[in-house]
Amino acid sequence: MTAAARIIINEVKGYHNFLKFMIVLVLLAVLASAVRFIFGLGATTNMNDIYPWGLWISFDVVTAVPLAAGAFTLGAIVHCFHIKKLEPLVRPAIVTGFLGYSLVCIGLLLDLGQPHKGWHTLVYWNVHSPMFEVSMCVMAYTTVLFMEFLSPVCEKFGYHLPLRVLRWLEMPLVIAAAAISTLHQSSLGTFFLIAVDKLHNLWYNPLLPLQFWMSAIFTGMSIIILEATMVHRYLGQPDESELLEVLTKILPWVLGAYLAVKLAALAFLSHGPLFDRPALLVLFLVEVIVGLIIPMIMFMQESNREDSRMQLRGASLIIFGVVLNRFNVSMFGMIQADQVVYYPSIVESLVTIGIIAGHILFFVLLAKYFPIFEHHPETVDYSLPDHFHPLEEQVPDKGVEA
């Protein structure tokens, strides 16, 4: 055994048991994906010609993308709208987003029949395809997140020149992130506009892309609340509930706007019967009441907004609601009345569980080895150079009043 391997093994031995469990889950998922490639999609998954899309598309892509929306939402809030005190939350959010999108790419490659031809989207453009739009955006945005993620990496290794370039690129990257995310978050909804006679009317309406985008925004914020609370509880980081309160103040507005759009679209833009399938109606009501109305009312009260525990509960409800919404749109709502019901196979489940476990594992490891939380934004000037109002003298960056 080489020395390096021994060091790594000793390091892993020192991890918390929870992390070791996560490593086992990830390894199982790697094994399951090997099985998928050896035996084929038909033999290892429960997908078939009736269910061409299963758990992997519904969760690993359609649900995971909004769950990774925290980075662009927070980036825009902090850097564009200049709510600078939320800055300490940005870097963990970027790490979460980068991991999320990388895992989306992995999930998508596993699901593709011809993953080795995935690059074809870059060459054979079809601008009429929402899938083309989403794959281009996901590739572009993963690159943007990777560049944002390079900052802690360069800090860790003390690369100063790239850091300066990255600092200079920061605002363009934040704006590109928001613009690209707007496009592909909404285009995921456009996917299902083609399923006009398949998706049930409770979800099918022409405003689906707008709803997907709006729900991505509040999901992004909820994920940040969840992540910051978990990091405080289990990784010994400072309590950020005071900062999270800012998010909980914005949340009811976004939730309310989304609810209004959703109900208006349901009332005025959907065609055909709405209440003909009791099971779907229940799913719809759970999604709207538990995942939308309850957290909205919760966060309308100040006492709940300030309480760290209620923040977590509200955010969890919102995340539950969005996951259910994406499954309703991409799976449950697509099931026709006389169709057999799909459930994921062991291989499919292992891969998806492994992807979730991998996200947690890699986040903890990155936080362990890279300056994700030690970053002190108050020492950094984030303002843009103002060419319309040039300064005659060098203005010190900060702390003039002090």
């Binding site: 490639f37 035996f39 084929g40 999609l41 038909g42 033999a43 010609d49 061409p52 899309w53 850097h79 564009c80 709208f81 200049h82 699901d111 593709l112 029949g113 011809q114 993953p115 031809k117 995935g118 074809h120 989207t121 054979y124 453009w125 079809n126 009429h128 395809s129 929402p130 899938m131 083309f132 739009e133 794959s135 605002m171 934040v174 704006i175 928001a178 613009a179 707007t182 496009l183 909404s186 285009s187 996917f191 506009l193 083609i194 399923a195 006009v196 006679d197 398949k198 022409p206 697509m334 984030y382 303002s383 843009l384 103002d386 319309f388 109002h389 300064l391 203005v395 003039v400 009043e401």
Partner: protein, 286 residues
């Protein structure tokens, strides 16, 4: 995506199900021309008498049996299931790499070399036609080619050539005219509709039936071309990109400018403060 707008000259199948005898010669001819493998089947394994039980990677067309009663007698009605070769195909519009093409001759064909295997075409197709090679580790999509290889050489598709009674093949205008003529001449014999004339924006396969369409298993689909449903959202993409990007750039510019001015003021004030404060301190020291 193709930019064809005139579909009148497209080669079209007119399938008169009242003339179908259920011989399934079309199924055999299709398998032969396309070199499709056999399927292991058992009787009554699907919805009814038909075999194979479902369309699949090995079966591009199939005669469905529907039994019904006429004058107290049991009768069969037949319906040929196949790709509809839509005028504006949903599969071609959603494919991220443009693997499906609506040819100028009429058939919608699939380019396996481009396909990445995402199966969006299977989600999009209102008729559930594209099938997947589930048995393979790196599967591709399979569907009726409209016998493009024959059609472009001036031949008729294999199924149309074989069919002794029910399938006519010709330009779309001719076939629709023929269907309307039959409807007009024998109104009691036919259900008064031409399936495919307007379904999904019009298709290159049209049907005449005796039974009501839904009883025979024809899917009730929208009359609007399906690509228009996604395009109405996708066409906004460049505009939204510029609006969000530009809007956020402007907002950032204003917020950052405000910040800078505030800091500058604070700096000036502090300078003024220190200037006014200086003489006093000097006096004090004197």
């Amino acid at each position: 995506m193709s930019n064809i707008t005139d579909f009148s000259k497209h080669k079209t199948f007119l399938i008169d199900t009242t003339k179908c005898t259920g011989c399934r010669g079309c199924q055999v001819a299709c398998k032969q021309w396309n070199q499709l493998g056999a399927e292991k089947t058992t009787f009554f394994s699907g919805e009814g008498y038909q075999n194979p039980p479902a369309m699949s990677e090995h079966t591009f067309t199939r005669i469905k049996f529907k039994d019904y009663q006429k004058n107290g007698q049991n009768e069969f009605a037949f319906y040929k299931e196949m790709c509809m070769h839509c005028n504006e195909p949903a599969c071609a519009s959603v494919c991220p790499v443009g693997a499906f093409v609506k040819t100028a001759e009429g058939p919608v064909i699939y380019n396996a070399g481009r396909c990445i295997g995402c199966r969006f075409c299977m989600i999009a197709c209102p008729f559930g036609i594209p099938k997947y090679e589930w048995s393979k580790a790196f599967p591709l999509v399979k569907k009726c080619t409209g016998c493009y290889s024959r059609v472009k050489e001036g031949l008729q598709p294999a199924c149309a050539t074989t069919c002794p009674t029910a399938i006519s093949y010709g330009s779309r205008t001719e076939m629709i005219a023929e269907a309307e003529r039959r409807l007009k001449n024998r109104p009691k014999h036919y259900y008064p509709a031409i399936y495919g004339k307007e379904e999904a924006g019009g298709t290159s396969v049209i049907y005449l039936t005796h039974q009501p369409l839904n009883e025979l298993g024809f899917k009730q689909v929208t009359l609007r071309p399906l690509p228009s449903y996604t395009w109405q959202a996708l066409r906004l993409v460049p505009g939204i990109f510029l609006t969000v990007g530009g809007g956020l750039s402007l907002v950032s510019w204003f917020t950052h400018r405000k910040e800078r001015i505030k800091r500058e003021e604070a700096f000036k004030n502090s300078k003024v403060m220190s200037e006014t404060a200086e003489p006093e301190t000097k006096e004090e020291t004197k």
